[in-house]
Symmetry: C2
Subunit: 685 residues, 2 copies
């Protein structure tokens, strides 16, 4: 938790304060003076007695008790200073701008750990080191500019990169997006993105901002991130995040940057999906999503586009409808009625185009029709620029006015930031946010709409034989489990397996084949990658072939025995699980065969996987139509498929030592699904 004095200090000391505002210690003092801090400022600098009009002490020992210390001195002097502040000056909040800690060397890392210990000992809070600081409603504790427009209902922004935070604030300022707070976590020595989010969650109340933005380069504590993001969203918040380093090369770039190991990107996607976080990939996308969050929530898919210029409306229509939203045709008595109130040549079929000559009054009428008379419309986008002939502030006043009054969200796309520069600035001063690029806006709106809210936790039914599972795991060694143990684990987890029998002799083979009925399948036991060594014989239909195959298979290197199963038919399916470092387990599902190997058509979910999530995984497959049944082919029972996915999730929850699990293939039809081959690898600490 972040200390309350850190959030709202009575006084702040700047250690390393300077008259030179080109230095961090000078610039932060300048920001604190110019922006809103109501408490007392104290400067520390051995060479000065006054800095920027503030009394300056030569040594930290000389100052009174302070709530927050902002430290802008060389790394090597920080520990001593912090000891004095923590032990003698009752300081609870620390911001360390200085670099030269864990990001550079082992010694730096040690120093950083010592500092954290000192601060932990007094229950204090540390932001940084190696960051740009903190801006909140109470103080502007950063050494960078600009300080964005602050508003308690603005965006709370947590950034893993200080420079990125600056660039995002710079890009956001011209749009009208406001901020409630900006946290730059730097090396996250004590407080990282997860801890700030936890703080937001724990302190959330009716006055809190409901929009959170994250820029993350490394997820240090995925489960904490998931827990608090989900909790905040369930309390009514909206969260968008960039997790940079999403490509393999990007991860390498992130590693070399932060000294942190990057996590698998599929796991990040799965985590965000489970939490309900909207994932973004660029600063402008993040800003656009945040700006949409600041508007009333979109409740349906149907968008009306109101414009005086066709081109942007067409591009926006493309962007919306390609990404899952509709721009439905409007064609009814009311729309005919509306048409009579516009200039000849206008179109009301949606996009509603009221021409280059359209007036402010007409815009008001159109918005009223969309708000009150066009039932199937859920939101409006107003695109209105200027060719530079005349002032459009009357139009923007009407737009502003309607935005206050209407229940349906109205999104303003005002592209003329040269011709209508002053009018847009005026419009923003009313408290509005502008979307300068219609396509970026359209894609962002659709992405938000199609991001699901997190589920209320379903009670997961553990109708599985936990003690057998634990016993198998505890009696096994690290590595791939023997087929017999795999079978018993899956049986204990009530996962339907095709009948099978391990045979060591020809006679056993014959007995088994008679029991199962021909045709049967034979698989070598011993080698892990059976198909690579020619260890699978399908469709054995006679005793003669059975004996032949037995000999062939037993001649394979490392062959111990032969496993016989009845030959099953149906659609090939796949279920897998993988332990993904700190994230926990990912469960994967899809069709088998070429669908995983060529088309990589799988869906992933972070465990535990609920029945609802399992169904969603199935339905999100590109090949879902095949599961439904297509071209007269029998489909696969979705209910049973989803159930087996949740059972795999249950299994790994009971046996978290499973690091890899593959059911590949399962065969499924409309009545039943059987796993016919499985591999499980465990790793105990």
């Amino acid at each position: 938790m972040l200390h309350s004095k850190f959030i709202n200090p009575k006084n702040i000391a700047v250690i390393g304060a300077s008259n030179n505002i080109q230095t961090p210690g000078g610039s932060v003092l300048n920001n604190l003076i110019s922006h809103n801090f109501k408490g007392e400022l104290i400067a520390v600098n051995p060479k000065e007695t006054e800095v920027q009009g503030i009394k300056c002490y030569q040594h930290v020992t000389e100052i009174q008790n302070v709530d927050v210390a902002i430290i802008a001195i060389s790394a090597k002097f920080t520990l001593e200073t912090i000891k004095i502040l923590a032990q003698q000056k009752n300081t609870k909040g620390f911001i360390i701008f200085s670099a030269g800690f864990s990001e550079t060397s082992k010694e730096g890392k040690q120093l950083e750990q010592q500092i954290v210990e000192e601060i932990n000992n007094v229950g204090g809070t540390l932001l940084g080191p190696n960051n740009i600081g903190l801006i909140n409603q109470n103080y502007a504790g950063v050494f960078t500019t600009p300080i964005p427009k602050l508003d308690s209902k603005g965006v709370d922004f947590i950034s893993g990169s200080g420079a990125t935070a600056v660039f995002i604030m710079e890009a956001a300022m011209s749009t009208g997006l406001t901020f409630s707070s900006v946290y730059s976590v730097g090396n996250s020595a004590q407080i990282g993105v997860e801890e700030v989010l936890q703080h937001f969650d724990k302190t959330f109340n009716s006055k809190s901002s409901k929009v959170k933005l994250l820029y993350i380069e490394s997820v240090n504590n995925p489960q904490k991130l998931l827990k608090h993001a989900k909790s905040l969203i369930q309390k009514g918040c909206k969260i968008a995040a960039i997790k940079a380093g999403s490509s393999d090369e990007g991860s390498r770039a992130a590693s070399s940057h932060t000294g942190a190991l990057a996590n698998s990107d599929v796991a990040v996607d799965a985590l965000f999906k489970k939490a309900g976080i909207v994932r973004c990939y660029s600063k402008n996308e993040l800003i656009t999503v945040a700006s949409i969050f600041m508007h009333p929530e979109l409740k349906g898919k149907n968008i009306a586009i109101i414009t005086h210029a066709g081109g942007p409306a067409v591009m926006l229509t493309d962007a919306l409808s390609k990404n899952g939203l509709n721009v439905p045709e409007i064609n009814n008595k009311q729309s005919e009625d509306l048409l009579t109130k516009l200039f000849p040549g206008s179109s009301v079929s949606n996009p509603i185009d009221f021409l280059a000559t359209g007036t402010a009054e007409q815009l008001g009428i159109i918005i009223d029709y969309c708000e009150n008379k066009f039932d199937k419309i859920d939101a409006m986008v107003v695109i209105f620029g200027s060719p530079g002939l005349f002032n459009v502030s009357e139009v923007y006043k009407v737009l502003n006015n309607k935005m206050q009054l209407c229940k349906k969200p109205i999104y303003p796309v005002l592209p003329s930031f040269i011709n209508a520069k002053n009018e847009i600035e005026e419009f923003i001063k009313y408290g509005n946010i502008n979307f300068p690029d219609e396509v970026l806006f359209g894609e962002a709106l659709a992405k938000i709409y199609t991001t699901s809210k997190p589920l209320i936790e379903e009670k997961i039914n553990f109708n599985i034989d936990k003690s057998s599972i634990r016993k198998i795991i505890e009696t096994s060694e690290n590595g791939y489990l023997h087929p017999e143990k795999v079978k018993n684990l899956l049986l204990a987890a009530t996962i339907p397996m095709v009948n099978e029998n391990v045979c060591s002799t020809k006679n056993e083979c014959i007995q088994t084949a008679i029991k199962f009925n021909f045709p049967v399948v034979m698989k070598v036991v011993g080698p892990v990658h059976k198909s690579d060594v020619g260890g699978i014989a399908l469709n054995i239909s006679s005793e003669e072939k059975l004996l032949q195959s037995f000999e062939t298979l037993m001649n394979i290197e490392n062959a111990e025995a032969v496993l016989i199963q009845p030959m099953k038919k149906g659609t090939e399916l796949f279920i897998g699980a993988k332990k993904e470092d700190k994230f926990g387990h990912l469960v994967l599902a899809g069709l088998g065969g070429i669908f995983i190997e060529v088309l990589k058509d799988t869906q992933a979910c972070l465990a535990p996987v609920s029945k609802y999530e399992a169904s969603e995984m199935i339905q999100n497959l590109k090949s879902y139509k095949i599961i439904q049944g297509v071209r007269g082919q029998e489909g696969v029972n979705e209910e049973i498929f989803a159930e087996i996915i949740t059972k795999i999730s249950n299994l790994i929850e009971v046996a978290p030592e499973i690091v890899e699990l593959d059911l590949n293939p399962l065969f499924g039809n409309s009545k039943e699904i059987f796993a016919v081959d499985a591999r499980i690898r465990i790793e105990k600490n």
Copy 2:
């Protein structure tokens, strides 16, 4: 062709000139006066004797001969005015701003046609009506602002929407992108996007700009667009285009906007691909692509990212590597050497991060290493913003300097348009272009790199029986061809068909099956959708089953006979062709079965399809690995597959009356491919 006097007039008359610069007639005169026109200006307005300091005539009959007339009067007065100008004043260039023509009514369309005739009669050129005009090196004949920075090597921009052109110019201005000309074609009554492109092509010389941008809402003459775009690109030009209305809903929006029927989007994609046009979807993407075009061409995939701020570098690395470019690790003696010249903590492994404290001199050294010592690097991106502490103009000077000297392209990403506003403006004044968003830049760079140049025309080998094909077409009626005719057409086109025989009696069936060997396939002849009526019997392996199936099939409604083929095995393939309105024929290919029906995995090419293009189609399939052979399964002979695709292209060239053609399925293996079912529909005028 555009008249030379229209491009470079000695004098220009503004009809409807006004002192009120809030009107088109006032604003255009103001633009002409303020921007660079070296010739004489004449104003016409019945109520004035002088307008904005220019002598004003009361009627067009009173003026001297003029090369260009810009007309900003009510539509109903335009025809009379144009008659006088064309017939009596030797005017060759006309720009009509006025609306109220083909976009609003039948009468308007007639009036527009009469105007075109008048202008055609004197060999004149008409831009518009219903447009914002023309800006080129000689005059600023638009009524809108802003007038962008002009430069003969800047961008030539043709827009189907005036407002969109304005918004694009507004967005481009802050980046430093310059323009050579801007054409707003309005209703394209005489001169559309295609004709302006033709003009660029015909007049292209060493002084011409090499970058063309198009904003298109409706492709009126696809073949003309293709011809001149391709020709320009082969002459060294680069072209990017937005074709708005790419979604179904977007097309509707475009239709209601321009009164033009939108064309199928697949055809647009195919046309752009054949021409080598980079397709864009938003104004900022178009501007970014154009800005990259203005840099030296990227010759390879390997990009070095040079930065003082990790975050944007990581996001850019993600964007590049997800879209087909590399940010290769740099780790060799030279990079170790470079590291010694930077501050401790810097990283040179790529991204090259020289820290927040990095200097201008260090930037210069890094660029020199990338240019001269890191052989595998093809281009550099320099990301350098400012936290607001100090001026970065020294850094930007070094950057500018290196950009002039280096052979490898250097792309500047300068994100601090608040903190480094003045320095960026200075940097742009040197003639540079800035990329404010690293991700948008990265995606655009990759899109350009992966867009192929147009092919030099391959001679297509027409080794097919043209006269037989023509004879079949000429003796057939509109609609689906009879199977016998389909077979003969395909044989004449030398397309390998599975052996087949149409049988009307049981005896014929038995004779055929004996000739082909069991198993065989039986298909009903008569109904078009055979599988829907249960008209296909596979794998007939005995005489008994043969006779049974014959009876069943002949009982189907409209059954005329039964077609027997040998039962072929292999991978199911698909080839199709479709006449796409003005575009000509699209040829499609892919795998059959679920690959077309569920996964929609097809590639399309505008006919004629060369062997190279056919191979590219095959290799671009998502399921290409299956054609190559995967999981021990035999693949498909690509050479033969490509050949059959080109033969289909040949066939439709000889028989353009074919409006739909389906080979579905063909069966292919590594040695041979046979079509086993085909449908052809023809439509003669």
